[in-house]
Each structure stands twice: as structure tokens, then as C-alpha cells.
Symmetry: C2
Subunit: 139 residues, 2 copies
């Protein structure tokens, strides 16, 4: 129970941080009302500019891996498809900031989309890269 | 207090109804988290399709007029401008459904954007018109 609250609170702070960063990059941002209040699932954060539509699921796990239920990712991908938006999982890692992950970066099992921290650091992109401001470094 | 709750609850129901209607028209919809939780103001509802970006302030006043503080409208217009979205006030009237109003339909006073029910019925458009599915009837 306490663990759950802690995780929720961290996630909430990460959302606020992402909103600020996106706002600073010139986006209009909307934070979705908590799930359960509407029957329609939506991403945690939607950011719009005159040329871009971005949708984010925000996670702030301080762990060696991240795992998200299959139905949650599929609902959000479907949301993004109808919206004509790009969808990313924004993983906030302590001391490392946000890594933006596409669902294809994850390993899909029967029940979840999973990724290790190591893979997320390798495959995830930084916001500047995501926004096309910076090219990804060649490894 | 009780009046306030009633109005809130009606507004909340109106939001849910608008979300359903927009979803039925093929939009992906996000309902904004309650104000105060983030420092960034946003519209109540944002609806996206591959070609459209719509932002709504949702009102369910059962009264002869509607009045919205100037700063609230200006914040939302500014949000919509950065987003490249169209902004409407969606006034849900009992037994008449939604009328969609542009800020220019309102009379602007020092403190508020105001409109009478009569004017709203004349100037407001129905969703089909807003979405370009139906031409507005010539009066």
C-alpha cells in the first residue's frame, strides 16, 4: 500500500516535470484525468504544437526493468492511431532524466511489454532527439 | 455549496457526454485533470483526429446566460494557438444538447466573456456543422 502510494507520487512528479519540459519546448500540454473517471482510456500526457502531436505514458520506476500490461499499451497505441499522434513511454530514471521509448523497443510477452534499464538507456531517445532538434549519436 | 456541487456534477456529466459523442465521430479524446493540479491551464477536453485538433471548455449552465472570466478564455485561446487547435466553448443546454461557440460569439466585458442563451442558440453551431459534415442552415 505504502509502496503503491510512493510509486504513484513519483509518477505524478514525473508527469509534472515532463509537462514543464514540453511547455518549455513550445508545446501546449494536457494532463489526462485519472483513469476510471471516464470509460475511455487515454495517454497520461498529450502535447501539441502546430506541427506535432505527441502522446506519453509516463513511468518513474526506480528499478532494473519496466513492465507494462499489454492491454494498456495497446489501448494507447490505438488512441494514438486515431489521433494521428506519435506515442512514447517516458521513463523517468532517477539521476538520468527521461528516456523516450517506442513500444517496438520493448519485448512483448503474453501479458506485458517489458524492457530492462540497460536496453532503455541504449534504445531510448532524449527529448531533443525525439523533437528532431538533435541527431541521435551513432554508437 | 450545494448549488456549486450540482453545477460541478452537471458539468462533469456534460464532459462525459461530449467525450462519447466525439469518440463516436472517430476522435481520440483526452479529458484534462482538474485545474490546480498542474500550474499549466488547459481546456477541459481535447479531441484529435488525423486531420483535426479541437479544444473545448465545457459548460452545463441551466440559465439564460453564460459568463466566463476573461483570463480563463484568454488562457485557453493561448493554449489553442500554441497547439494549432480550434477552441470552442461547448454549452450543454438541458433538452437542447450542445451548442458550440467561438469566443468571438461572446460579448467581452472588462471581466468576462458573456452570451445570452438566445444568442448562443442563434450563433452556436452543432457538432456536425463544426466538423464540416453539414452546412449551416441559412436563416
Amino acid at each position: 500500500m505504502f509502496f503503491g502510494l510512493t510509486r504513484y507520487s513519483k509518477g505524478s512528479n514525473a508527469e509534472r516535470e515532463l509537462i514543464k519540459v514540453l511547455f518549455g519546448k513550445g508545446f501546449s500540454v494536457v494532463r489526462a484525468a485519472g483513469s476510471g473517471k471516464t470509460s475511455l482510456p487515454s495517454p497520461d500526457i498529450v502535447a501539441l504544437s502546430s506541427t506535432k502531436k505527441l502522446a506519453f505514458e509516463c513511468k518513474a520506476w526506480d528499478s532494473e526493468y519496466l513492465s507494462i500490461p499489454v492491454e494498456q499499451i495497446e489501448e494507447q497505441l490505438s488512441w494514438a492511431l486515431r489521433a494521428g499522434a506519435e506515442f512514447f513511454v517516458a521513463w523517468k530514471m532517477p539521476r538520468s532524466g527521461f528516456f523516450f521509448l517506442a513500444p517496438t523497443d520493448f519485448v512483448r510477452t503474453e501479458k506485458s511489454f517489458a524492457i530492462t534499464k540497460k536496453t532503455a538507456c541504449e534504445k531510448g531517445v532524449r527529448l531533443e532527439v525525439l523533437l528532431g532538434e538533435q541527431e541521435r549519436l551513432k554508437v
